[in-house]
Amino acid sequence: MRRKNIKKTFIIAAIIGLLAFLYFTNIFDFAKEKIYQAINPAASGLYSLGANIRNGFESRTDQKELSHKVKELENDRNALLVENARLKELEEENKELRSYLEFLDEKKYSYKMAHVIAIGVEASSEREEKSIVIDKGRSEGLYPGLGVVDSRGVLVGKLEKVEEKASRVVLTTNGSCKLAATIQNMERTIGIVSGEMGLTMSMELIPQDEEVEAGDLIVTSGLEDDIPRGLLIGEVSRVNSNNNEIWKSVVIEPLADFSDLIIVSVIIP
C-alpha cells in the first residue's frame, strides 16, 4: 500500500515536472493569449474595486485640514498660472527660433494606455510591493525599459518584465528602479535616480559646487534610449551635504500618486 502511494506520488511529481518544463519553454504560449483575453477585463475590474475601497479607507475627512489644504492648493495654482503664462511665451519663442534655424522636429512619441490589474508580487513585504502589473504586453509592442506615466504625465516607473499580454512595472521608489535624470537647477545636474526603501528616491554623487535646493524638480535626462527627456519624476525634499566630502546627495519626493493608479500610459519612443 505504502509502495503504491510512493509510486503514485512519484508519477504525479514527474508529470508536474514535465508540465513545468513545457511551461518554462513557452510551448503553452498559444493558450496563454486566450486566457489573458478572457481574464484581463475581470482582473482590471476587481483591481479597480479594491483600489476604490483602499482610497475610501485612506481618505481623510477632517474639515479643518481640508480647508487648509484647499487654501494651499489655491496659492500654488495662482503661482503656477503665472509660471504657465511665462512658459507659453518661451515655447512660442522656441518654436520660432527652431524654424529659423531649420531644426528637425522634436521627437514624437506615442502612448499605450493600460489598466493596472495587480500590485506587488505575492509574498512581498510592504516595502517591496513597489511594482504594479498592467494588462498590456509584448503583443502591443511593449518591451522592458519603457517608461510608464500616470494620468498627469508624471513618471511612475518603468517596465521590468513583459509577457504576452501583461507586464510588470517597477515603480520609481523601488530599489531596483534606476533612472537617468536631470535636476532643474542652474547647472542642470545629471545623475542616476534610485528608489529608496519603497518610499522615496535619491540621487548620489552630485559635486559639492553644484547648487541644489529643496523644491528643485527632477526630470528624465533623455540619456536612456527608451525614456524620452523631460518627464517629471519628483522634487528635491532634502539636500545631504557635508563640506568635508567631495559629493553630496539629495532625497527626492515622488510626485506621482501611487495609491491612485488605475490607468497608466506606457510611452513608446
Partner: protein, 176 residues
C-alpha cells in the same frame, strides 16, 4: 465527474484572480490575506484526495501569468505547498480540530512564503545580487501580519464549516 472538475477549476481560477487583483489592491492588512491557501487547507482537510493537486497547478499557472514574477515559480510553489500540507495532515495533525487547522495554517504559510522568497532570492543573487531576506526586519514583520490574518480567516471559515457540517470539532477532540 467532468462537471465537478470544471466547477472546481473555475472556483480555483476565480479565487486566484480575486487573490491577485482584488486582495492585492486592498488596504493593509487586508492585502495580506491568502484565500488560495485557506482553500487549499480546507479542501485537503475535507477531501484529502491527491488528485486535487491539479487545481493548484492551475492556480500556480494563473499566479505566474498575472503576477508576472521575476521567475515563474508559482506553478511549482502551489503544488509543493499542497504536498507539504498533505504530509502534515497524514502524519502529524488531525483534520478535525481548530488547533490542528491553525497549526497547519501556520506551517503551510511559512513553507509557502519561504519557498517563494528563497526562489526570488536565488534568482536575484545570480542576476543582480540581492540582500538575504531573513536578515530584513521588514520580512519578519510582514510574515507575522500574513500569518495573523490567515489565522483569522481560517478561524472564521472553520466555524462556518462547523455550523454547516458536524465533521469538524470546534476546539478539542475528546478521548473517551
Amino acid at each position: 465527474m467532468w462537471f465537478k472538475i470544471l466547477i472546481n477549476s473555475i472556483t480555483i481560477a476565480a479565487l486566484s484572480l480575486v487573490q491577485i487583483s482584488f486582495i492585492s489592491s486592498l488596504p493593509f492588512p487586508a492585502n495580506k490575506l491568502n484565500l488560495v491557501l485557506a482553500a487549499l487547507i480546507f479542501s485537503l482537510s475535507l477531501s484529502g484526495k491527491i488528485k486535487n493537486i491539479w487545481f493548484y497547478v492551475l492556480a500556480g499557472l494563473i499566479f505566474d501569468m498575472f503576477f508576472v514574477p521575476p521567475v515563474k515559480i508559482f506553478i511549482l510553489a502551489w503544488p509543493l505547498t499542497f504536498l507539504f500540507c498533505r504530509l502534515l495532515l497524514r502524519n502529524v495533525f488531525t483534520n478535525r480540530s481548530l488547533f490542528s487547522f491553525l497549526a497547519i495554517c501556520l506551517f503551510t504559510d511559512i513553507f509557502y512564503i519561504f519557498f517563494i522568497k528563497t526562489s526570488f532570492y536565488i534568482y536575484g543573487f545570480f542576476s543582480s545580487g540581492s540582500r538575504l531576506f531573513i536578515l530584513s526586519l521588514d520580512f519578519w514583520n510582514d510574515m507575522l501580519f500574513r500569518i495573523t490574518v490567515d489565522f483569522l480567516l481560517v478561524l472564521v471559515l472553520f466555524y462556518i464549516f462547523n455550523f454547516i457540517s458536524k465533521r469538524l470539532k470546534p476546539v478539542f477532540i475528546l478521548r473517551y
